[in-house]
Amino acid sequence: MARLAAALAAAMLLAGVALAAEQQKVLVLLDSPSLESSHSAFLAGLRSRGYALEVRPIDDKSLQLKSWDEWLYDKLVILGSSKALGGAIDAAQVVQFVDEGRDVLLAVDSDVSEELRSLAQDLGVDIDSRGNAVIDHFGYDSHVGAQDHAAVLADNFVKSAAVLPKALSTPVLFRGIGLSVAAESETAFLALAGSPTAYCGKPGAAMTDAKLAGPELGLVALVQMRNNARVAVAGSLHMFSDAAFQAEATARNDRVLGRASNEAFCTAISKWAFQEQGVLRASQLSHRVLAGAHPGAVKPERYRVNDDVEFSVVIQECADGGCKPYTAEDVQVELVMLDPYIRTSLKHDGQGRFATQVKVPDVYGVFKWVLEYRRLGYSFIELTETVPIRPFKHNEYERFIVQAYPYYASCASMMAGFLAVGAFFLYTKA
């Protein structure tokens, strides 16, 4: 129940985001003032999506994220590198910012400060040690990365329509540090991974074995917290820059692959990070009795065993400020008491209403509907609704059973016989 409330609340929040995006305040922290001009396209893109940006140097003494326990900003963008967080902001406060449901986009480069690394680690992404860079001796970009092979062309995108609605034709030009994500992490995944020949190491130095290489080498990682707050961590500042946006991707044999898709990719991950994509919104959870003790009862206090009930919920997918019905065949609901007694997948009509009809088990107890939906890139849905199932009342059993008619007959005949004998005994003169 509490979870349900939380989920709905989150959904409302998202709805608010979608409808009233213009009020959203974003704090942009820049490692150096020059970044504002060099990354103007990216920032302009954010502004054009209706965010009120406040651009500040990262080490500004007067920085302040919350005042009197009021968060001053809805989103946080850190284009950081070696400088420490200034003012009142520190890693712990940013983590709290996320824990209270707000979103962060963190981009670093090779000389990342330990503070930002620990921040990323607390958020579930591990940045490789300072000074390393992603190197690919086969997949480097021959314009920018010719001499140290440290500017690579990465096209190992995550396969999720929620993150990248439309496939990108050309690779992304990436110059920066590598990331990694814990294998059993339920929250973090890689949006952009290294090519099989990419690894993370000191540029120019020979390496025999790289700790971080191939598909495990992350370039951009996305994190979806359990409270549906989102974090994007990119290993490169350069990929957000105007230069990268304009760059032509040229493979090592000077084969021109066309305009690098940095702009599209960066926009996509920023949209995802700021809850503009891949947001699922569940609402109108309902269940009603079709046949049983109280047919037609909607959200009854309790079922009776063997009732026929219908469970339904409306799920919508919100993207770019608008919500449209979600369509998927793999949404499942369970009826659980210690173990799931019923697990069935929900059918949806095109309007986003997911429903199923089940016969509740012939077991009494405190059951609960559980709908848990976790898909890569989509926000989590966790709904639970408790409904006890009661046994028959004493007057709900059938009164006369066909099989038992012989016994009724025998009883009746016995009584009649007793009456007869009694009458005979009493009223005959011996």
Partner: protein, 785 residues
């Protein structure tokens, strides 16, 4: 109490006197019976007592809101989460329906009283009824005097007080009354042989069956009595009318109570009645045949029947044995088995053995609980034989069986109490009547007039008005007793010695001085009994274990109200359908007072579920966290006495949790929780598993830090009288949310899964350097200057 000598007028007058006196005495007894049970209300407050009463109270509240039908089918989703409990089908509705009826009647009379008050005062009310029932019972057995005496004793007998003080709203509160009343009806039917009384017996038995599981005692006692009657050739139509309808209708009545259902014909506890039923018919048939046949033919027939009878008996026995052997636990419920084989429960059923009231009593508890009744009862047993009537034989059998069973389980002392009181009352009335009668005889001798009969009736006025209430009882009983004495004398005193030289012919009074001394001694003994009972009622049995008191050094009273404090906290600060886990002792209280869902409660019907909780409490923190989360538990509380020295806390109950848990989950082994020396201890030598267990952590979390508050050594446990083994530790998966004033209740929240997957194992992680220190901010959150 008339003699042939009197004229009708005098007779009527004496009758009137006697009845008025009796009625008045009975009234006083009733007032005494219910007022002596009000100590708990006066010393504490009008509150429901310890554990089970809270369940009854909760159901009664439910009844007062939803009505009888809903209660009959009450499915409780607040206990045994997530299994739930069919309360309607697993409870004895008698008590609850009684209180509900009383409440409804009061409402109809426009007396706006809360149902709790009704519940609190049900027990005293019914103890008064019980006194009346006892009077009627003994009046049937041996006349008014015995009746009054036993009523006066049972009114204040401590063993009964212990279960029926105001507020202990437990089944026994009405069940004992029902028990005695059923006995009265049975004996009444036995004496009158009227079908009307047999019907009344059925209804009384129905009420008894609906009230208490102890009905199976009656279900076995009546057959025993019937059997005895058959064996001693006392078979009569009166016996048949008393017994036969009861067997059939009684079985039907029992079968109609959901909690008993088909057990009424399946369980071995009920077999005896049917068996004796058949035997009774056989005996009647034999008598009929004897009357019908000439002697020789009869003797022939007898041999024939006997041979066939024995074979039939053998077959029946074989069948019964085979059935019993086939059925689970030999068709006996564990509790009854532990009556027949006293060592059964302690060996096989920890849940039964863990309950303190299932322990056998030692000699001292007899004197504490029955006092003078336990001393006079043997005399009563003997007096039942002179003369031995059907009724007195019933009393005899009741006394003997009850005293045997009470030896097995201390709780059955409650069944013994009425028997002991009746026997004692019998002895008391006989001795007082004999002494006072002979006193009067002495006076008459001086007056030089009168015969035995005159002696006999005089005391009913003289003593009655003279001595205290007790002697009224005795006095008015003197007449009856003396009359019997005369009767006995007529037939040469049934069993008392043959016609020897020193034996006088008729009944002979003792000299005056002896009589006076004797009466004084009796009076002293009784006043001791009353002193003892009233003291026990006031000091020992009126504490409602939910509110504790202790005397301060300055003589004032210190009240520990932690339980209600904590339950109130739960009800005000947690989500209405939060699940609360605790040891089963506190389940009823939690559902009733905090109104929250519990995992297990005092109705220990599902051993596995209880074992799961026991296992969680006995497991290390992480494991316990997983178990609790799998049960959707949001709050866990433990009862901890180490702070103020409250001995019956969870640490002391912990070994039972381990045993019960280990009974189902073998990975929990008791020895791991014991110290190196095999003792259960919490200091340095404590077992490792104990120190790691959740129970230890939840009990002693932050305990050491508060230790110096009472000037003792750091981390000194006042119950175990030891410095605890592990003093400073942190909780990872639980969060302390509430600790009551005296630390008796400690409530913890079971933490959710973390929001972020930080610090997971990641082989590719590059080591992190020095973390930046967290910043200091101004209260506003602005950077500090």
């Amino acid at each position: 109490m008339a003699g042939p000598a009197e004229t009708a007028g005098q007779t009527a007058q004496h009758k009137a006197y006697g009845n008025v006196l009796t009625g008045f005495a009975l009234l006083c007894i009733c007032v005494l019976a219910s007022s002596v049970r009000l100590f708990s209300v006066i010393k504490y407050e009008s509150v429901i007592h310890e554990f089970d009463p809270y369940f009854n109270y909760r159901v009664t509240r439910f009844l007062s809101e939803k009505g009888f039908y809903e209660t009959w089918d009450f499915f409780d989703s607040f206990t045994w989460y997530p299994l739930g409990r069919v309360v309607g089908g697993t409870m004895y509705p008698g008590l609850i329906f009684t209180a509900g009826t009383i409440w409804n009647v009061l409402q109809k009379l426009n007396i706006p009283i809360h149902v709790q008050e009704v519940c609190v005062f049900t027990a005293p009310l019914f103890s008064a009824f019980c006194a009346i029932a006892t009077y009627l019972f003994m009046k049937e057995v041996r006349g008014q005097g015995a009746g009054l005496a036993s009523a006066a004793i049972i009114a204040v007998v401590p063993s009964y007080i212990s279960r029926s003080v105001a507020g202990s709203y437990d089944l026994e509160a009405v069940a004992i009354f029902a028990l005695v009343f059923v006995f009265y009806l049975y004996v009444k039917t036995l004496n009158t042989g009227s079908l009307a009384w047999a019907t009344a017996l059925f209804f009384g038995y129905l009420y008894m069956v609906a009230s208490w599981g102890g009905y199976s005692f009656i279900a076995n006692l009546l057959p025993i009595h019937c059997l005895a009657c058959i064996v001693f050739g006392r078979v009569s139509s009166r016996l048949y009318i008393a017994y036969a309808p009861w067997v059939i209708l009684g079985a039907l009545a029992a079968a109609n109570i959901p909690v008993i259902g088909f057990n009424a014909v399946l369980m071995s506890e009920h077999m005896a009645s049917f068996f004796v039923f058949g035997l009774l018919h056989a005996a009647l048939a034999i008598e009929y045949i004897r009357d019908m046949l000439p002697p020789r033919a009869y003797s022939a027939a007898k041999k024939l029947v006997l041979t066939f009878g024995t074979t039939a008996l053998a077959v029946v026995l074989a069948l019964v044995v085979s059935y019993v052997a086939a059925s689970p636990t030999f068709g006996w419920t564990g509790r009854s088995l532990s009556l027949l084989d006293p060592t059964y429960a302690s060996k096989y059923i920890p849940i039964i053995a863990s309950v303190s009231e299932h322990q056998p009593p030692s000699w001292s508890s007899y004197f504490t609980d029955l006092h003078i009744a336990s001393l006079l009862a043997p005399a009563g047993l003997l007096l039942c034989f002179r003369p031995l009537t059907d009724a007195s034989m019933f009393l005899l059998l009741y006394g003997v069986t009850a005293v045997y069973f009470s030896g097995v389980m201390v709780r059955l002392m409650l069944v013994l109490a009425p028997a002991a009181c009746c026997l004692a009352g019998l002895a008391l009335s006989e001795v007082t009547s004999y002494l006072s009668a002979s006193l009067v005889a002495a006076q008459r001798a001086q007056a030089g007039a009168g015969d035995a009969e005159k002696k006999a009736k005089a005391p009913s006025e003289t003593d009655g008005s003279a001595a205290g209430k007790k002697d009224k009882a005795a006095g008015s009983s003197a007449a009856a007793a003396a009359k019997q004495a005369a009767k006995k004398a007529a037939k040469k005193g049934g069993s008392g010695g043959g016609p020897l030289g020193w034996v006088s012919g008729p009944w002979k009074p003792v000299p005056k001085d002896v009589a006076i001394v004797g009466l004084v001694l009796v009076f002293l003994g009784l006043s001791m009994f009353y002193r003892h009972s009233v003291y026990v009622a006031g000091e020992m049995y009126s504490a409602p274990s939910i509110v504790l008191q202790s005397r301060r050094a300055d003589g004032g009273v210190k009240v520990f109200d932690d339980f209600r404090e904590a339950y109130a906290w739960l009800s005000h600060n947690t989500d209405p359908d939060a699940k609360v886990a605790s040891w089963w002792d506190y389940g009823y209280q939690t559902t009733a007072m905090a109104n929250r869902t519990v995992i297990v409660d005092n109705n220990t019907w599902n051993n596995t579920h209880i074992a799961t909780v026991g296992r969680a409490m006995a497991s290390p923190e992480r494991k316990a966290w997983q178990i609790f989360r799998s049960l959707d538990v949001e709050y866990v509380f433990v009862v901890f006495g180490g702070f103020i020295g409250y001995p019956s806390d969870d640490i002391n109950k912990f070994l039972w949790m381990v045993r019960i848990g280990g009974g189902v989950f073998p990975e929990i082994k008791e020895p791991h929780y014991l110290g190196a020396d095999g003792n259960y201890r919490v200091d340095e030598q404590a077992g490792k598993a104990l120190v790691d267990s959740l129970m230890y952590k939840l009990s002693y979390y932050r305990f050491a830090d508060c230790g110096p508050m009472f000037g003792a050594q750091r981390g000194f446990d006042r119950v175990r009288n030891a410095v605890i083994a592990k003093q400073d530790f942190e909780l990872k998966y639980f969060e302390e949310v509430f600790t009551s004033e005296h630390w008796m209740m400690r409530i913890y929240r079971v933490l959710d899964k973390p929001n972020r997957d930080a610090r997971l194992r990641n082989p590719r992680r590059a080591k992190l350097g020095r973390r930046a220190p967290s910043k200091r901010r101004q209260p506003s959150g602005a950077p500090s200057k």
